[in-house]
């Protein structure tokens, strides 16, 4: 995945960039399956490698351009990024090691979800039970966000009646 991202950053042909981003989403979905996140992997594969790529290609078709040669050398952004990376690595040393059963993430409220979830809701898939029942408000908000995004795109891209060129 790191190779994909580096090639993506350096490539100037936007079509290639979009295809590489689809490939990157697909690799991410595979990694997620290896991490036991099957629901998330399915969503990332369908949304990231599917819908995102379609929307990016549609926008590219409407914009019809290629990336121009960068005017300034990118040393300052590179230095800033690497500095941020170093700070983050220093911060991550304090985080629990990979797959540590005593980490706080596993001990607070999750045992209740795993033990009582199927009994209280009758649904063996704990992710769906938590998403739709225990944390149903969040899913309501998310559905509203999706609807708002659709309404926003409609408001931005709606054609005016008697004009053929870009409405102002």
């Amino acid at each position: 995945m790191a190779v994909t991202v580096v090639v993506l950053a350096r490539n100037r042909n936007l079509f290639a960039v979009i295809v590489l981003s689809g490939l990157y989403s697909f690799l991410m979905a595979t990694v997620l399956v290896a991490l036991d996140a099957v629901d998330v992997a399915m969503t990332e594969a369908s949304v990231g490698a599917g819908v995102s790529t379609v929307l990016l290609l549609g926008a590219l078709h409407l914009c019809r351009s290629e990336e121009a040669r960068p005017v300034h050398k990118a040393w300052l952004p590179l230095a800033i990024s690497i500095a941020c990376g170093v700070i983050l690595v220093y911060g991550s040393l304090g985080l629990p090691a990979f797959s540590d059963p005593a980490a706080p993430i596993h001990t607070h409220v999750v045992p209740r979800y795993l033990n009582d979830g199927p009994k209280e809701t009758g649904v063996p898939n704990v992710v769906t039970a938590v998403l739709a029942s225990y944390r149903g408000y969040d899913t309501l908000g998310e559905t509203t966000v999706v609807f708002t995004a659709g309404a926003g795109v409609v408001a931005l891209l709606r054609r005016r009646r008697a004009r053929k060129d870009a409405p102002k």
Binding site: T43, L62, E120, T121, T128, T143, T144, G150, L157
Partner: protein
């Protein structure tokens, strides 16, 4: 792409399976990976696939704009409606266990309708966005 025979035949063969898979993912989300979002995106992908092969005007005839726009809003209303039902039956907003005498069955019903609402909204929005992008770029067709 309208004239390429292989693409048309393959699309015709694949589309029912894609739609059935979307329904499977939706309703089997309780027992395996899946749920509303994935099913909604797969339905939208199936219609986009049809539009790519057969042309936008054909796709507009099969899934008209008015249907897509009402789908966008209907899903959110179904979700909020389940919450209001919880209120009407005496519990808090979005309480599922008051929906039936047996609380587990009530939870099942609540989760079912909520996931249906989510799938409808997600598929409607994805499709509407695709329609808007495709419409903007059309010179004349």
């Amino acid at each position: 792409m309208k004239r390429d025979l292989v693409l048309r035949v393959v699309a015709k063969v694949f589309l029912p399976f894609i739609l059935i898979f979307a329904l499977y993912v939706q309703f089997h989300g309780d027992f395996g990976p899946g749920g509303g979002f994935q099913a909604g995106v797969i339905i939208a992908a199936a219609v986009i696939f049809y539009a790519l092969i057969y042309g936008l005007s054909n796709a507009r005839r099969v899934v008209p704009e008015a249907l897509v726009e009402s789908m966008m809003a209907a899903g959110v209303l179904i979700y909020a409606g389940v919450g209001v039902l919880g209120l009407l039956f005496g519990g808090n907003y979005l309480d599922y266990f008051v929906l039936d005498r047996n609380p587990v069955v009530g939870q099942h019903r609540g989760i079912f309708w909520v996931e249906v609402g989510v799938a409808i909204t997600v598929s409607g929005v994805m499709l509407k966005i695709f329609y808007m992008f495709a419409d903007r770029g059309r010179i004349d067709k």
